[in-house]
C-alpha cells in the first residue's frame, strides 16, 4: 500500500503544471527514468481543472478553511458510495507512517547539505466565492430530474432522517404528486383540467398530512416540513433557520394559531383562491403559483414575490401542503403558453448545482490553443493529441457601442457580416492580406514600428468599427501596443484560422487542465513514475560541487537524481528569490444561466474587453457551454482573466456587472434561510424583475409594475392587503433600474469565484547559488495560450539533453507490438517504430491505415473537423497558412452560423 518510491532516478520533476509535464514526458520519452511528483492530490497544480466538488474544497483549502467533506462522503450521493472516502489514505495509516519517518538530516551522507524547499505554495491569493442563488428550494420540481434523481432525493431523506420515520412517507407522496403533474405536462391538458386535477391532488395531500399531524402533533409536523427540504448541506442549520421562519411567519399572518393547524387551515383556504385565477389567461401559472404561496403557512407576500422569480418551481412552500400546491402551480405552468417559460426558469439553487457537481470542469487557468500554435504542433508531432479531444472556438465577440457583436474572422464572416459595409469589407480584406505577410512589406508600416498600433490603424484609414475589430478582437492588444508586436499578434491569429475551422482557437474537452495530464500519461507510458501528495521537503546538495544529489520528500524518503526540475513555487527561496512585485493574474470563474449572445447553437466564445484604463491589459472572457463538458445543461461557464492590479474582484467586477445580471449575493445565513427571509429579497427581487421582463407585458395597473412586471402584479394579487409583497417586487424593480439599464436578456450570474494567481513566469530569476542540475520553471502565465510553456519546456529540455530529440512521435496503439522479443527493451523498440512511422508519415501516408480515411478533405462548405492528430501537418505549413485559408474561403457559402462545432479525434 504505502509503497516506498524507488530511490534512484535520472530526473525528478516536481509539480504537474504544463511546463513540468511536457518536460517530464520529453525526458521519459527518450528513455530517462523519471519521477514526477506534486504536492496536491490533483494533477495540474495551478493549471488544474476541477469539478464542483473539488472546486469547493480547493476554495476552502485556499481560504484556510476546513475542507468541506466531498459530496461523495455525504449520504445523499451515496446510495452506492456510503462507505467510501475520497482520500485513499486513512488517518490511521498516515499516522502510522509518520512514526517511522527518519529525520531528513539523518539521511545525509558526508559532505552534503540540506536546502529547504517550499512546502506550501503561495501563488493563489484573494480567493472569494460568491453565491447568488439560494442554498436550496423547498421543492425541486423541474422537467429535468430523472426518476432516478428523484429517487435519489427520496433516498437521501431516508438516510438523513434518523429520528423522523413517518415523515419520509409524506415526502415520498409529495414527490409522486409532483411526478404525476410532470406527466400531465406532457399531455398538455387544458388549464382548467390541470388545475382541477392538481387541486384534487392537493386535497389528498392535505388529508394525508392531516393524518400525519394527528399522529405526530404539531411540533413534529414542523419538523416534517423541515425534513422535506432536500438537503445536501448540514441539516441542522437549515432546519433551524426554517424553524424560526415558520414561527415568525405564522405569527405574522395568522394570528395565534399553533403551527400545524395553521398549515391545514391555510391549505383549505387555497381552493377558492385558485379557481378565479384560472380564469385570468394572462398569468395562469403565476396566479396559481401565488395560491401556492398563500397556502403556505406563510401566506406572506415575501414568499410570493420570491417564488414568482422562478415561476415554475414554486419554491415558496414550506410545508407539505404547500409543496403539493406547488405541484399545482407546476402543473398549471404546463399550459402551452407557459410551458417554455417554466422550462427555462427552473430555479438554480446551490443544491441543484451541487447535485450536478461532476458535470463541471472549471479551469483555474483556462488557455486556448492556437490552431497553428506550438502546442498543437507538439501534440501532433508527439502523438499525444490522441489522449485529448478538442472543440473549435466558434465565435469571437466584441462589445461595440455597448452591444455584443460577432467579430468577422474569416473571409466568409467578413462578407456576411451586417456590421461591415461593402467598402469596409474590401478595406478589411486588404488589411488582412497585408498582415499575413507584413514582414515582407516593412515599408507599409515604416515609421510605426514602435508607435501605438491604434495610430497605425488610423493611418491605414480603417473605419472605427474595423479598428475596433482588429485592435481588440484580432490582435487583442491594448491601444498603445507597439505596431510591430501587434502585427505579429494579428498574424498569429489570422494564420491559425481555417486549419481546423472558422476560428483560430481550439479548446480541450473537459478543460485545458487536461493537457498537462496528457503529457503525464505519455510520461507514465514510457515508464515515468507518478506520485501525488508528495513533494520535496529538502534538496540534498553536495557541498563541494554544489550539485543537487537527491531530494528528501515529505515522506522522509531520500530519492537521488541527476536532474531536479522544479516548478517555481517549490523551489527553495535561496535559489529563486521572490521578486518584490510580481505580475498577478486576476481570475474570475462564473456560472451563469445562459449564453451572452443567445443563439440556437451552443457557442464557444472568446471576447476581449478593453478596460479603458491606460496600460491595463484587456479582460479576456471565455464562455463555455455543456458541449465542452464544462458544465451541465442549461448553464454556462465564463472565465475572466486579466493582468490586474492585484485584486481580482476589483479588476473584474465592473466587467461582470456590464455583461451579466448580478444580484446582491445573499449572506450565508440568508441563503440558507427559506424564501421570505429578508436576505433573499434582493437576489430574488432582481431576478423577479428580469423574469418579469421576459414574461411579457404586465397586465396590471400599478405604477410599480412597469419594471417589476409580473412579479409586482403577482405580489399584488396574492398579497394580503397592505402586505409586503409589493415592497418586495418593487425593490427588485429598483435594483434593476439602479444599474441604469435593464438586465433583460443578460445571463444571470449564479455563482462566482475570484482569485489571484501569481504569474511566476514574470521575473523568474534563478540565483547564482542554484546548482546547475536544478532547473526551475514557471507556473501559468497570463497569456491566452500555452506558447510560453512549450517554449520553456523545449529550452529546458535542450539544456538537460542537448543532443536528444524533443518528444519524437510516440507509436500509435496499433503499432505497439508486444511480443516475444528476446530483448523487450521497450524504448529501443519504440524508437524504431516511431522512426518508421515518421518516415511513413512524411511520405504522406497516415500512420495507420485508419488514419487515411480521416484525410479525405471535408466538403468546402463545412469547416474541417478538428482532427488534431492527423491534422494537415506537413502539407499546409504555416508559410501559406492563413493566407491560403482566405483564398480558399472565397468559395464558402455565407452560412457560417450552421457550421458544426466539430470535435477532434479519438481515444
Amino acid at each position: 500500500m504505502a509503497d516506498n518510491l524507488p530511490t534512484e532516478f535520472d530526473a525528478i520533476v516536481v509539480g504537474t503544471g504544463m511546463t513540468e509535464c511536457i518536460l517530464a514526458a520529453a525526458l521519459a520519452r527518450i528513455g530517462k527514468n523519471v519521477l514526477h511528483i506534486d504536492r496536491n492530490d490533483h494533477y495540474g497544480g495551478d493549471w488544474a481543472s476541477f469539478n464542483m466538488d473539488s472546486m469547493r474544497r480547493w476554495i476552502a483549502n485556499h481560504r484556510g478553511e476546513e475542507c468541506p467533506p466531498s459530496v461523495m462522503e455525504i449520504p445523499e450521493y451515496s446510495s452506492l458510495l456510503h462507505y467510501l472516502s475520497i482520500n485513499p489514505k486513512t488517518e490511521n495509516e498516515e499516522a502510522a507512517e509518520e512514526k517511522e519517518k527518519p529525520s531528513p538530516a539523518s539521511l545525509l551522507l558526508e559532505g552534503e547539505l540540506l536546502v529547504e524547499a517550499r512546502m506550501e505554495s503561495s501563488t493563489i491569493t484573494n480567493v472569494v466565492e460568491k453565491i447568488f442563488v439560494r442554498e436550496k428550494s423547498e421543492v425541486e420540481v423541474s422537467k429535468e430530474p430523472s426518476e432516478s434523481e428523484q429517487q435519489g432525493t427520496a433516498d437521501t431523506q431516508q438516510s438523513t432522517e434518523t429520528e423522523q420515520k413517518g415523515v419520509t412517507n409524506a415526502q415520498q407522496t409529495t414527490a409522486s404528486a409532483s411526478k404525476t403533474h410532470t406527466n400531465e405536462d406532457e399531455q398538455e391538458p387544458s388549464v382548467e383540467s390541470v388545475i382541477a386535477e392538481a387541486l384534487a391532488c392537493t386535497e389528498e395531500e392535505m388529508k394525508e398530512e392531516k393524518e400525519e399531524e394527528d399522529e405526530n402533533k404539531s411540533e413534529s409536523a414542523m419538523d416534517e416540513a423541515i425534513m422535506c427540504t432536500p438537503s445536501y448541506d448540514t441539516v441542522p442549520t437549515g432546519a433551524d433557520a426554517q424553524d424560526t421562519h415558520i414561527m415568525n411567519s405564522t405569527s405574522e399572518t395568522l394570528e395565534p394559531q399553533p403551527t400545524a393547524d395553521a398549515d391545514a387551515r391555510v391549505g383549505t383556504e387555497e381552493k377558492p383562491a385558485t379557481e378565479p385565477s384560472s380564469q385570468s389567461p394572462l398569468c395562469d401559472a403565476q396566479s396559481v403559483d401565488d395560491d401556492s404561496e398563500s397556502t403556505a403557512p406563510v401566506a406572506d407576500a415575501d414568499a410570493g414575490a420570491i417564488t414568482d422569480a422562478d415561476t415554475k418551481s414554486a419554491a415558496g412552500s414550506i410545508t407539505d401542503t404547500a409543496e403539493a400546491a406547488a405541484a399545482v402551480a407546476n402543473a398549471a405552468a404546463s399550459s402551452p403558453a407557459q410551458a417554455d417559460a417554466a422550462a427555462a426558469a427552473a430555479e438554480w439553487t446551490m443544491e441543484r448545482i451541487m447535485k450536478r457537481w461532476r458535470r463541471f470542469n472549471l479551469d483555474l487557468e483556462p488557455k486556448l490553443l492556437f490552431s497553428r500554435g506550438s502546442l498543437v504542433e507538439l501534440l501532433v508531432s508527439s502523438n499525444i493529441a490522441r489522449y485529448a479531444e478538442f472543440k473549435i472556438l466558434t465565435q469571437v465577440l466584441t462589445l461595440l457601442d455597448g452591444r455584443l457583436e460577432r467579430v468577422p474572422c474569416s473571409r466568409a464572416d467578413v462578407f456576411s457580416s451586417k456590421k461591415v459595409s461593402v467598402i469596409e469589407k474590401r478595406m478589411l480584406m486588404k488589411f488582412i492580406q497585408f498582415c499575413l505577410g507584413y514582414e515582407n512589406t516593412p515599408a507599409e508600416y515604416a515609421g510605426f514600428e514602435d508607435r501605438p498600433f491604434s495610430e497605425f490603424l488610423m493611418s491605414r484609414k480603417l473605419t472605427p468599427n474595423l479598428r475596433h475589430f482588429v485592435l481588440h478582437s484580432i490582435a487583442m492588444v491594448t491601444e498603445d501596443c507597439p505596431t510591430e508586436r501587434a502585427l505579429g499578434e494579428t498574424r498569429r491569429f489570422l494564420q491559425s484560422l481555417g486549419r481546423f475551422g472558422n476560428s483560430p482557437f481550439l479548446w480541450p474537452m473537459y478543460g485545458s487542465g487536461e493537457l498537462p495530464q496528457c503529457f503525464c500519461r505519455l510520461c507514465a507510458v514510457f515508464g515515468g513514475i507518478y506520485c501525488l501528495r508528495r513533494m520535496p521537503q529538502c534538496v540534498v546538495i553536495d557541498a563541494a560541487s554544489n550539485r543537487c544529489k537527491a531530494i528528501v520528500c515529505n515522506e522522509n524518503q531520500r530519492i537521488s537524481c541527476d536532474w531536479l526540475i522544479m516548478e517555481a513555487s517549490y523551489a527553495p527561496e535561496q535559489y529563486v528569490p521572490r521578486p518584490e512585485t510580481r505580475r498577478s493574474i486576476s481570475r474570475a470563474i462564473l456560472i451563469t444561466d445562459g449564453a451572452l449572445l443567445k443563439e440556437k447553437q451552443e457557442q464557444l466564445t472568446l471576447m476581449s474587453l478593453p478596460v479603458g484604463m491606460p496600460g491595463r491589459s484587456p479582460v479576456r472572457l471565455l464562455e463555455l457551454g455543456p458541449s465542452t463538458m464544462a458544465c451541465p445543461r442549461d448553464l454556462r461557464i465564463v472565465h475572466l482573466t486579466c493582468v490586474g492590479g492585484g485584486d481580482a474582484q476589483l479588476d473584474l467586477a465592473p466587467t461582470i456587472d456590464r455583461l451579466f445580471a448580478v444580484a446582491e449575493p445573499p449572506s450565508e445565513a440568508e441563503r440558507a434561510a427559506p424564501p421570505g427571509e429578508s436576505g433573499e429579497r434582493e437576489t430574488i427581487g432582481g431576478a423577479a424583475a428580469t423574469e418579469a421582463e421576459r414574461a411579457g407585458p404586465p397586465g396590471g395597473s400599478d405604477e410599480q409594475e412597469t419594471t417589476g412586471g409580473v412579479a409586482a402584479m403577482e405580489a399584488e394579487l396574492l398579497a394580503p392587503p397592505g402586505g409586503s409583497g409589493e415592497r418586495e417586487a418593487a425593490s427588485g424593480a429598483v435594483a434593476a433600474e439602479d444599474r441604469g439599464e435593464t438586465d433583460d436578456g443578460k445571463p444571470k450570474l449564479l455563482w462566482s469565484l475570484f482569485f489571484n494567481c501569481q504569474d511566476t513566469t514574470d521575473e523568474l530569476a534563478v540565483s547564482e547559488d542554484c546548482p546547475d542540475n536544478v532547473v526551475v520553471c514557471g507556473g501559468p502565465d497570463w497569456t491566452l495560450d500555452f506558447e510560453h510553456s512549450v517554449q520553456e519546456a523545449k529550452d529546458l529540455f535542450r539544456r538537460i539533453c542537448p543532443d536528444e530529440e524533443f518528444l519524437p512521435r510516440a507509436p500509435d496503439p496499433d503499432e505497439i507490438v508486444f511480443g516475444d522479443y528476446e530483448n523487450p527493451a521497450p524504448t529501443d523498440g519504440f524508437r524504431e517504430l516511431a522512426t518508421d512511422a515518421e518516415s511513413r508519415n512524411n511520405n504522406g501516408g497516415g500512420p495507420t491505415p485508419a488514419a487515411d480515411d480521416d484525410r479525405t478533405p471535408a466538403p468546402a462548405a463545412v469547416a474541417p473537423p478538428v482532427d488534431v492528430t492527423h491534422g494537415e501537418m506537413g502539407t499546409h505549413q504555416p508559410d501559406n497558412g492563413g493566407g491560403g485559408f482566405y483564398e480558399q474561403e472565397s468559395a464558402v457559402a455565407k452560412d457560417n452560423s450552421s457550421r458544426p462545432s466539430t470535435e477532434e479525434e479519438q481515444d
Binding site: Y43, Y530, P813
Partner: protein, 222 residues
C-alpha cells in the same frame, strides 16, 4: 456526430485495480491471445484499439499511474465501462477497489458507467484458499450497478490470463452490452480475431511471433 469516423473509438473501456493484480496481462491476453509472463510493470502501452464489428473500442491501461495512487482524471474521461480488477488470492486488492478506485470512477467517468468486477488469477487459487468469495464479489458488482436487472447475470468475471479462462467472455460481454453486433458482424469479428492470432499485422507476418493458434481452444467461451 463524429462517431462514425474510423479511428475515433466508439467505446472507451478502462481497467483499474491495484498494482500487480494482472491488469495488463488481462488486456494482453485478450488482445494477443496469449499470456506474456513479462514481469515488468506496464510500460509503453497506453491503450489498445480493438475492432468490434464496425466499431472501434479503445481499451486503456493505467500505465502504472495507479501504483502510488496517482491516476489522473484524464484516464477516466469519457469512459462508459470500467473494469475493476482484483487478485482473487489477495483480499486487500479487493478491498482497495471500493476505497481507492471507485471514487475515481464516480467522479470522472461518464454517468452510469458500467462497472465490471473482475477477479484475476483464478488459476492460482483453489476454492479452499481463495480469499475473496464469489458471492462477495458478485454482491459488490450488483451494488455498484444499481440499475442492473437482478435476473441478469451479474457483471462479475473470474479470469485467468494464463489459461485464458473468461477473458474473451469478459470483453465480449462489455462490447456486446454497448455495441451489440448482428450475427454476420459477429462472424466477421471472429474471422478477424483468428487472423490476429496468427499475428497478421499490416498485411505482413511477424516472423518473431510464435504460433498461438493452439492456445485458442481454452478460451472458446462464446
Amino acid at each position: 456526430m463524429q462517431a462514425e469516423r474510423k479511428n475515433k473509438a466508439n467505446l472507451k473501456v478502462i481497467i483499474l485495480g491495484e498494482f500487480n493484480v494482472g491488469k495488463t496481462s488481462l488486456i494482453k491476453r485478450y488482445k494477443e491471445g496469449k499470456f506474456d509472463p513479462q514481469e515488468e510493470p506496464t510500460i509503453g502501452a497506453s491503450f489498445y484499439l480493438k475492432r468490434w464489428g464496425p466499431h472501434n473500442v479503445a481499451i486503456w491501461d493505467t500505465a502504472g499511474q495507479e501504483r502510488f495512487m496517482s491516476l489522473s482524471a484524464l484516464y477516466c474521461r469519457g469512459t462508459k465501462a470500467a473494469i475493476l480488477a482484483f487478485d482473487i488470492s489477495q483480499k486487500d486488492t479487493f478491498n482497495q477497489l471500493e476505497k481507492r478506485f471507485l471514487p475515481l470512477v464516480n467522479s470522472h467517468t461518464e454517468e452510469n458507467c458500467l462497472i465490471v468486477i473482475v477477479g484475476c488469477k483464478v488459476d492460482a487459487v483453489l476454492e479452499s484458499n481463495r480469499q475473496v468469495h464469489r458471492e462477495t464479489a458478485i454482491a459488490l458488482a450488483r451494488e455498484l450497478n444499481p440499475t442492473w436487472k437482478p435476473e441478469k447475470p451479474p457483471p462479475y468475471y473470474e479470469t485467468s490470463s494464463i489459461t485464458g479462462e473468461n477473458v474473451n467472455a469478459l470483453f465480449e460481454f462489455i462490447f456486446e452490452y454497448f455495441l451489440p453486433l448482428s450475427e454476420s458482424e459477429k462472424n466477421q469479428y471472429n474471422q478477424m480475431n483468428k487472423r490476429t492470432k496468427h499475428s497478421v499485422r499490416d498485411g505482413t507476418v511477424d516472423l518473431q511471433s510464435k504460433s498461438v493458434s493452439t492456445k485458442r481452444k481454452c478460451c472458446s467461451l462464446l
